[in-house]
């Protein structure tokens, strides 16, 4: 594969599974060093990921909804690697679905916004000054379909029904 990302430093959220993991693997295959950000909820997940990526990445366990944790990781990566070229926001959840608006639980809606919107906001808030300072950066926002099966109710469609 063409190494068009040689020597670039990437941050990927939701990197432990699903699309985030697929993107992290692709970036590493194209030559990037990848900071893999995730809750790593499954026992042994962090160690498995670190073994797989070896010297081409580093796992950082964090809660994307906690601003201090996000700032800390972005700053650590920038200090250790000297720059941040790429930010891929892939951490995302659907929350409880198959519900009409009046049935939606407010605390669940808040959680979805905390993960999907605030998480992407926090990472970009702390990566942007670094990127602007170095005169280069690439950000891709978006929560894909979730890959966290253990979160109750988190699947986009409960059976074949029209929403």
């Amino acid at each position: 594969m063409a190494a068009r990302l040689n020597d670039q430093i990437a941050l990927v959220t939701g990197a432990a599974s699903g699309l985030g993991l697929a993107i992290a693997r692709r970036l590493a295959a194209e030559g990037a060093w990848v900071a893999l950000l995730d809750l790593c909820g499954r026992p042994g997940q962090r160690e498995e990921m670190q073994r797989e990526f070896g010297a081409s990445g580093q796992v950082y366990v964090l809660d994307i909804t906690k601003e201090d944790e996000v700032r800390g990781v972005v700053e650590r990566v920038a200090r250790a690697r000297g720059r941040v070229d790429i930010l891929v926001n892939s951490a995302g959840i659907t929350g409880e679905t198959g519900l009409k608006s009046h049935e939606t639980r407010t605390d669940n809606l808040r959680l979805v916004f905390e993960v999907n919107f605030m998480g992407s906001y926090f990472t970009s808030k702390y990566a942007l000054p670094i990127m602007v300072g170095q005169g280069y950066g690439r950000i891709r926002h978006f929560p894909p379909l979730p890959a966290r099966r253990e979160m109750p109710g988190c699947w986009p469609i409960r059976g074949p029904r029209r929403l």
Partner: protein
Amino acid sequence: MLAYSGSKAAVIGMAKVQGKEYAGTGVTINALAPAVIRTPLVDVLPEDQVKYMTDKIPMKRCGTLEEAAGLAAYIVSPENSYTTAFTFDLSGGRATY
């Protein structure tokens, strides 16, 4: 779907705003809007549920992880130098965005 759809719309809005705010700094900021991607979780869903989702997609299939990762890698590569504040579609023609 209010929470998920609302938060997706908010993230698209953030990409539009940030892309314009930082245009000219060397930083490009875009979003990616996928439809159904064949993740391991989709593999374990009942076939009728997968069919319900793919029936709405003109290409009549899920996107693959390779297709999604390939487009994402382009978006964050140096080659993507003149597109910012944009939402890329990855939906087999369904155009979810």
